[in-house]
C-alpha cells in the first residue's frame, strides 16, 4: 500500500465514524482504488464483529449504597474534625488572650443549654400532641 492510499484510508475512517464528510476527491479515489474500496467495506465488517462484545452489566445496588455510605461517613468525620478544630481555637484564644469570660461563657452554655432547652422541647411536644 502506498503512502497516498494510507492517507485516504485515514480519511475514510474519519468518514465512517462521522468525523468528516465524503467529498469528490475521496470519492474519486475510492472508485478507482481496489485497496481503499476493500478498506472502506471492511470497516462495517469490523464493527459488526465488535458487537460480540457489546453488553451492559446489571446494576449492583448494594455497591452503590456502599459508596454513598462511604461518602456520608467521610463527610461526618470531616464535620466532627471541623467542630473539634473550632473548639480548640476558641479555647486557645480564650487562654492566650486572657479573656477568661469566653471560657466561662462556653462552660455556662455547655452546662445549661440542655436544661434551658427543656421547656422548649416540652412546648413543641405539647404542640405536636395537640395537633394529633
Amino acid at each position: 500500500m502506498d503512502e497516498q492510499c494510507k492517507q485516504y484510508q485515514l480519511l475514510l475512517m474519519d468518514i465512517h465514524f462521522g468525523e468528516r464528510n465524503m467529498d469528490g476527491e475521496i470519492k474519486g479515489h475510492l472508485e478507482k482504488c481496489n485497496d481503499c474500496q476493500a478498506y472502506w467495506q471492511g470497516l462495517d465488517k469490523i464493527e459488526e464483529t465488535l458487537d460480540a462484545l457489546n453488553f451492559e452489566p446489571a446494576v449492583d445496588y448494594p455497591q452503590i449504597s456502599e459508596v454513598l455510605a462511604r461518602v456520608r461517613k467521610r463527610e461526618s468525620i470531616l464535620e466532627s474534625l471541623k467542630f473539634v478544630l473550632v473548639a480548640i481555637c476558641l479555647l486557645l484564644a480564650s487562654v492566650l488572650t486572657g479573656f477568661k469570660f469566653l471560657l466561662f461563657l462556653q462552660a455556662f452554655f455547655y452546662l445549661t443549654l440542655p436544661f434551658l432547652s427543656l421547656p422548649l422541647i416540652y412546648h413543641y411536644k405539647e404542640r405536636c400532641d395537640s395537633r394529633g
Binding site: L53, P57, D60, V67, V71
Partner: protein, 178 residues
Amino acid sequence: MDLISRARAGEREALEELLRQNYGILKGYLLKIGCDYDLTEDLIQETMYRAVKNIKRYKATSKFSTWLITIATNLYRDQLRKGRKEILYADITDDLQYRAEQLDITLEAKEKFLQLQNIMAGLPFEKRAVLVLKHYYGYSYQEMADILQCPVGTIRSRLHYSLDYLKNKLREGGQQLG
C-alpha cells in the same frame, strides 16, 4: 431542578439515581478495555466514590458517564503505572468463563465473546481504549482526546492502528467471528 443539580446539592436520592443510570456503562467500559474482574469491582467502587465526593467539581458540559469513564481510565492507568501486569486473556480462560457467566450471555455469544477478548488482549491498553470508546460509546475524537488526555491526532492514529490490527486478526482467524 434536574438530576445533576439535585445531586450537586447533595441529595442522596439524586446521587443514587445518577449512579444507577450510569453503572452499566462504567462497568461495561472497564470490562471491555480488558480490566480483570476483581480489579473492575475495585475500580467501580473507587470511581463512584471519587465522582460523588467531587460532584461539585463536575462541569455539566459533558455527560456524567464521560466523567465516570475519565476517572476510571485514570485509575486503571495508575494501576498499570504502579506495575500491575495486565492479565492477558489467553492465560485466564477460567476467569473469562466466569465473566461470561456473570454477564448472563448465551453460549454462542459467549464463544464469540471469548474469541474477541483474546484478540483485543493483543492490543496495548491505550489503543484498546480508543477502539472501545469509539465503537461502543460513540465518542468523538475530541471527546476521546479529553478522556485519554492526548492530542486528537494520536487518537486518530491509534484508532487506525487498532482497526488494522483487528482486520488482520480476523483474516488470520478465517473470520470465524463475523
